[in-house]
Subunit: 529 residues, 2 copies
């Protein structure tokens, strides 16, 4: 498989490889998906026959990749052991609620003080509908799902550097209606002026004008955009004579819209990973971790910090330290699945080859920070009629204020006060927990007058400062994808790597699960040989 | 107030009228809403002071308008009595579940045979975020809400008469990506060809090209549209080398898209009533009816069919018939709020003036039909990865197949097999319940191969054939809005009208509630005078 560029493989290549990797089950799924014109997606674990009885597999890390591997290999009869550095399972699949503690490297201890029933998913927080691998387990384990509102046209867009539209609470619905309305009008004008007669037949022109009038809701008489109900009303329609039909709102000016660059907050269609329908588990993302843990928990040795990884042609030996007692111990197995993030693995002593070590060290990890703010009152629902979704802003280090998609109309709620990456994440993570709160409140109150007064309690995380993660997710460059990724994907000897980093779904739980599915198929193939 | 055109009133007029109708509370809300640039909306019942003690109000109809009036007037101390023709409260706010019965006029009896826990909201089924009046009561009564997925880009569009794209299961995401991508490319080309130099400054051209490249995800090098991940993949990205980055999908041809007119299934922004976030009560829409009934049920006389309405300058007398026993009775009160649909009211004997009667008779009611189909398997989730939302089709009499927004990943589910109006509704309502099922299955299996085999049980309604409704909702023409609506809104003597028909939110529960709010304010003003 080596360094093939996955984007350029032919269909035949793909089918060949699908059969090689996943057996005929995967091949069949792939073909039937094509036949129906539906995107193929890894929707179920590999169908493996035979037995793993008498073979031992050591798994490093009880995140979703590790627990997926343990669960599926356990069903085949393998003797599985997981070493987990933390005192709980789930890896980054965490939910902060009352009593949850975190001490970042060099940071102050935080204990979550949210009210009973309130929480923030400070790790993964969304499950796209096409992440069928994650959804395979929510279904199989009976984990209740609810819609995560990832797209809300009635939310706010608030730009500090938005030119003529700076510091206004714009609604995405207004922006979409007015930008697309004006663009439709402009193109309609062009078509009518015969500027596109070389491009379009007379029939096409007629059809295009028809489409533009519909898309932009242009006036039938002159194909001009004059506002529309979809951008919202000044006074909403209601009963009786007043408000009666309501009062239309005035469109934003096209030149102001262009100059503000506010049209960049949306696009023709949502990016693939962000499309509706988006889910979250009822009660917190860690319901997934708990469901796995319930099934494989007895194989997990907690607070076991891996010290070194060694192998020979018979097996793998891992030395680890009990972080509570400080005692050293070791575990051996026929094969090892290592799900430790590369950011951490690079610091662990091993007998991997130099090129393998270099590949591990070549992968960057994303600095990422989030903060959950418990508000004593849902002012965003009560005053602004925003139910879930994201307030988008260019306030440095904030990016989004995301409103909860659960507990509708309840008294309190926990919102996401920022979600930042890279430089901003590094800068803000240097603040104390209390200073981070102040940073978030100072920004939020620019948008919501009730923000500061409603604040009760916070929990923040900077993933690049979390001991056993050292980053939010792997960030592959084109170069490391071409060079390091194929090498790491092969594993080394009896050690195979799994986790979100071993996928093109980095930062998503599906990447961890699907990567585990691939590696257990390989181990089983080798162990059965 | 008379026949003023609500759309053309000035802001000053509006404020004046708002104060006159709703008192200073409404005036304040309106002004502050303007100040913040948020659409005003009727969000709470009128703040009425004083007492209604010693005054009797007779309410005709225990739908949401009638029960809202009873609930709010009851709090003021009025003696309230409701006459309800049915044996249950809620009016059109109904949910069909196991055991629910319906016999349409001239039709066969239907008893819903869905499994325990399965249901269809065959009346109202959606609560838009801006229907703050409905949401006022769901919050006050503690009715749990969940998201109703009203917009799903991964659903299907299936056209029988879609020209070159006929009989294909297209995804809205594909259509949006490709239509808007091509339109963006076309306009970018025009801008580059200097065809718009008279319209746009050099800066504006630059900004517009920048926007178009983003909206259409055009290639940076040549501003051409070449597909995008947002339209979905041929093979989704995943783990390892295969599928790795996945395989992109090919865009639909622009001329095919134009010729198919498939771009009409979406628009720049969702129409105002259809925008996210959309809600439904957990467990069925009738949770709202039940919550009201719990509070005002003791004032309701069920199975009481109104026979006549008479008034003099002292009060109102209504003669009614117990539909179980056939016995006649009468009830008197100081004032009457009549929420009986105009389609039914026109058949009831009254001493209304001729012009008032003519106004009542001039309002058309919508023929509307729906069918719920219980499927033994959620093939739309399992095979097509469609979670909620609407499959849109031009198959005559179907319009939409809507997938349930609850019970995600459960075994069974009830989908909406059609939702039709006007001629189609009239034609299909002439079929027997079994024939309607066959009609729905024959259409659905064109889109979903598993449709017919998965079918278990159905419940259908044709609202224009439902005895106490005779239509889905009031359909005002421009003429009847101008002439009949103001007249009916005034009521006659001591009888005031309320219901969705007395609003610009026809067919929505909010129209019923807000109309009731307005009329109780008027009654209280008159009773207090």
């Amino acid at each position: 498989m080596a360094s093939a560029n996955a984007k350029s493989i032919t269909r035949r290549d793909f089918l060949y490889r699908a059969a090689a990797v996943g057996g005929t089950g995967l091949l069949f799924n792939t073909m039937s998906a094509w036949g129906l014109g539906i995107a193929s997606t890894a929707a179920a674990p590999p169908q493996l026959s035979g037995s793993g009885k008498g073979k031992k597999i050591l798994i490093l890390g009880a995140g979703l990749a590790g627990m997926t591997a343990a669960y599926e290999l356990g069903k085949l009869g393998y003797a599985v052991q997981i070493l987990e550095a933390r005192s709980f399972a789930g890896g980054r699949c965490q939910t902060a609620r009352k009593g949850f503690t975190l001490t970042e490297l060099g940071g102050d201890a935080q204990t979550c003080g949210f009210d009973e029933g309130e929480y923030i998913n400070h790790g993964p927080w969304r499950i796209p509908y096409h992440h069928q691998s994650t959804l395979h387990y929510t279904r199989q384990f009976g984990i209740a799902l609810e819609v995560m509102v990832n797209d809300n046209d009635n939310s706010f867009v608030y730009l500090e550097n938005g030119g003529p539209l700076s510091k206004q609470r714009l609604r995405p619905a207004q922006i979409k209606a007015d930008m697309r309305g004006n663009v439709a009008e402009l193109l309609a004008k062009t078509v009518q002026a015969k500027a596109l007669d070389q491009e379009l037949s007379s029939d096409d022109k007629h059809l295009l004008l028809d489409y533009l009038a519909h898309e932009g809701q242009l006036a039938a008489s002159d194909l001009r955009y004059k506002g529309r109900s979809g951008r919202g009303y000044a006074i909403n329609p209601g009963a009786g004579m007043v408000p009666g039909a309501g009062t239309p709102s005035d469109p934003l000016g096209f030149k102001d819209l262009l100059a503000s660059k506010v049209g960049h907050v949306y696009s023709a269609v949502q990016d693939f990973p962000m499309q509706n329908t988006m889910f979250q588990p009822v009660g917190g993302m860690d319901q997934i971790a708990r469901a796995f843990e319930k099934r494989v928990g007895k194989t997990i040795r907690y607070q076991a910090e891996v010290q070194s990884i060694r192998q020979n042609d018979k097996g793998v030996t891992v030395n680890w330290k009990d972080s509570a007692s400080g005692k050293l111990a070791s575990a051996s197995a026929d094969y090892c699945i290592c799900t430790i993030p590369l950011s951490v693995l690079r610091t662990i002593d091993s007998d991997f080859s130099d090129s393998f070590k270099q590949a591990i060290a070549s992968v960057a990890y994303a600095p990422v920070g989030k903060i959950g703010l418990q508000m004593k009152r849902r002012f965003w629902e009560e005053e602004d009629h925003i139910y879930g979704g994201h307030v988008l802003t260019d306030i440095k280090g904030i990016n989004t204020i995301s409103l909860p998609s659960a507990g509708w109309q309840k008294k309190k709620g926990v919102l996401l006060g920022y979600y930042h990456y890279q430089t901003a994440a590094i800068e803000i993570s240097a603040l104390t927990p209390a200073e981070r709160v102040e940073f978030a409140l100072a920004a939020g109150e620019k948008i919501f007058p009730a923000y500061r007064d409603s604040f009760e309690s916070a929990f923040s995380v900077a993933w690049h400062r979390v001991r056993y993660n050292l980053g939010g997710w792997a960030e592959w460059s084109d170069k490391s994808r071409a060079k390091a990724y194929p090498l790491l994907n092969e594993g080394q000897g009896r050690v195979l790597l799994a986790g979100e980093h071993m996928s093109y779904l980095t930062g998503w739980q599906a990447g961890a699960i699907e990567s585990a599915w691939q590696q257990i198929a390989r181990i089983h193939e080798r162990a059965s040989a």
